[in-house]
Amino acid sequence: MLINVENLNIDIATANGTLAAVQDVSFCVSKGETLCIVGESGCGKSITALSLLGLLPKVATRTARAMTFDGVDMQMMSKAELRALRGNRLSMIFQEPMTALNPLHTIGRQLLDVYRAHRKASRKEAKERAIYLLEQVGITNAVQRLNNYPHELSGGMRQRVVIAMALMCEPELIVADEPTTALDVSIQAELLRLLIDLQKSFGMGMIMITHDLGLVSRIADRVIVMYAGQVVETAPAEKLFTNPSHPYTRALLGSVPDPSHPRMKPLPSIPGTVPSLLNRMEGCHFLDRCPLASDACRKPIQLQQIGGNHEARCIKVGEGKIRLKVVA
């Protein structure tokens, strides 16, 4: 097992009190495996990713029962140890390539820096590695590109550079936070394909954070659905899509506009909005928006086994198909 996280909690101190951004999230990823964490904005998925790399903002505190990378406890690591890990064996692809790259340095310098920070390598070796990877991510005339500044590249090109940078030190695990949402659809598909091909050929583990269920259905081995700071459902991908069990998962899948819905007719949608995490909720977080909600849902609900690595945080999992309300 590459990374193992048990009962991760992240609290953020705000002017209005403590916000329980992530509550008891557990997962593990093995070599070559892809874990997708899906959820809407504010559900805690991005901050979960940042906490893995030790990049949380100062106001956030992390606690976990266990958090190991390749068997080593990450909570006990010193800053130097963490730095040696980050960008080396564990790297991250951010959403916005323009903010992930330094506008003042050429991409060549940025790629070389990463490599030489972690390896005893000459400039020449580092340069060769950078050229090799730029070619791998589909950048033509890589040698000249090394001298380009980020602003001279298009969004798609920049994201390719960010991917190449994440791969410089042959990481064992990649954390990708919405790596393609800022890009055009056609480039999105191309880059995703590239990322998965590279992942397969290098045998990396990947944690992909996204809100795009279409994307998840196509690349995930395992899926975690988060809602308002909690895991509401976790399952192998084929089980999640053939037998979505939490009402939220089902509602989310039902509300994606796609050809299965009659055109120009109202889509099934989820009434209301995501609750604020400032007030700690006792029972089910989806309570106010759930068509199946009852008084029994007001007490704390644990993740329940449905069978075969499939868990859902709902006491009414067995209750037939949910009829979703159509609201405008």
Binding site: S41, S186, A189, R193, L213, S255, P257, D258, S269, I270
Partner: protein
């Protein structure tokens, strides 16, 4: 009168002038290249294309914010060039992509929504407020939001405010630039449903500009596909999705990742040769 298209563009081109400054020169850039289209009663026209394909420039031209360097824009059969901003605004409303930046954070929702009426000098303050209340109710916002500020609202609620503001002057046509891309999936459906409902109620026409092919397929009657400033394919929504003819349309549809477990990501490498071929390919315009 009634059979005149509400909006008609004929052979509209727009070229951004090159700049000459201390950082050197930039070449002029043809953002929109001989675009013709019309929006008729009952239409929801979708405009799709990659970033830089000219969608937003086209939207600006339709709103009268940009004067095209060539071609003609007709509103209700009259040249838009001869109309004042106000006359154009009476016919066309606009909804921006990002409801977080399109609403003034220092004004209450009631003020924001009533402001277009104030600009037009319509009614008394009390009458304007009354109409604002009514329209907020129509877009499904509880009255308690009337005195609220945008930062107290969620993204979906803010987008409803933006829709209310666009509709209070009763335009016939609403241009929606990525109306749901800043919203969460679970809220997106609410806003799309609202737009469909309002269409019935106000007899509205929409132009939907979007990246999301799922949204376009669900919401539109006709679709125009833009590539490098030109419309490369235009047809009924049904035909575009069932038998796309232009290679760029085909690429767009193939790269859309619908929910399909285990289908993987298609291998779509677009190299320079393919781009060139798509650029050279003749357009398919069905009226």
């Amino acid at each position: 009168m009634t059979d005149k298209p509400v909006l008609e563009l004929s052979n509209v081109s727009h070229e951004y002038r090159g700049r000459r400054g201390i950082f050197g020169q930039s070449a002029p850039m043809l953002a929109v290249d001989k675009v013709s289209l019309r929006v008729e009663r009952g239409d929801i026209l979708g405009i799709v294309g990659e970033s830089g394909s000219g969608k937003s420039t086209l939207a600006k031209i339709m709103l009268g914010l940009l004067t095209p360097t060539e071609g003609e824009v007709l509103l209700d059969g009259r040249p838009a060039g001869s109309m004042t901003r106000r006359q154009i605004a009476e016919r066309i409303g606009f909804i921006f992509q990002d409801p977080y930046s399109s609403l003034n954070p220092r004004q209450t929702v009631g003020k924001i929504v009533a402001y277009p009426l104030y600009l037009r000098g319509e009614g008394t303050s009390a009458q304007r407020q009354e109409r604002a209340r009514k329209i907020l109710d129509i877009v499904g916002l509880p009255l308690r939001f009337f005195e609220a500020y945008p930062n107290q609202m969620s993204g979906g609620q803010r987008q409803r405010v933006a829709i209310a503001r666009a509709l209070i002057t009763r335009p016939k046509l609403l241009i929606c630039d990525e109306p749901t891309s800043a919203l969460d999936v679970s809220v997106q459906a609410q806003v799309l449903n609202l737009l469909l409902e309002l269409r019935e109620e106000f007899n509205l026409m929409y132009i939907m500009i979007s990246h999301n092919m799922g949204v376009i397929q669900h919401m539109t009657t006709r679709v125009a596909v833009m590539y490098l400033g030109r419309i490369v394919e235009m047809n009924t929504s049904k035909r575009i999705f069932e038998e796309p003819r232009h290679p760029y349309t085909q690429l767009l549809l193939n790269s859309t990742l619908t929910v399909a477990q285990g289908a993987g990501v298609p291998d779509l490498k677009v190299d320079t040769a393919k781009r060139e071929a798509m650029r050279e390919h003749p357009s398919f315009i069905a009226s």
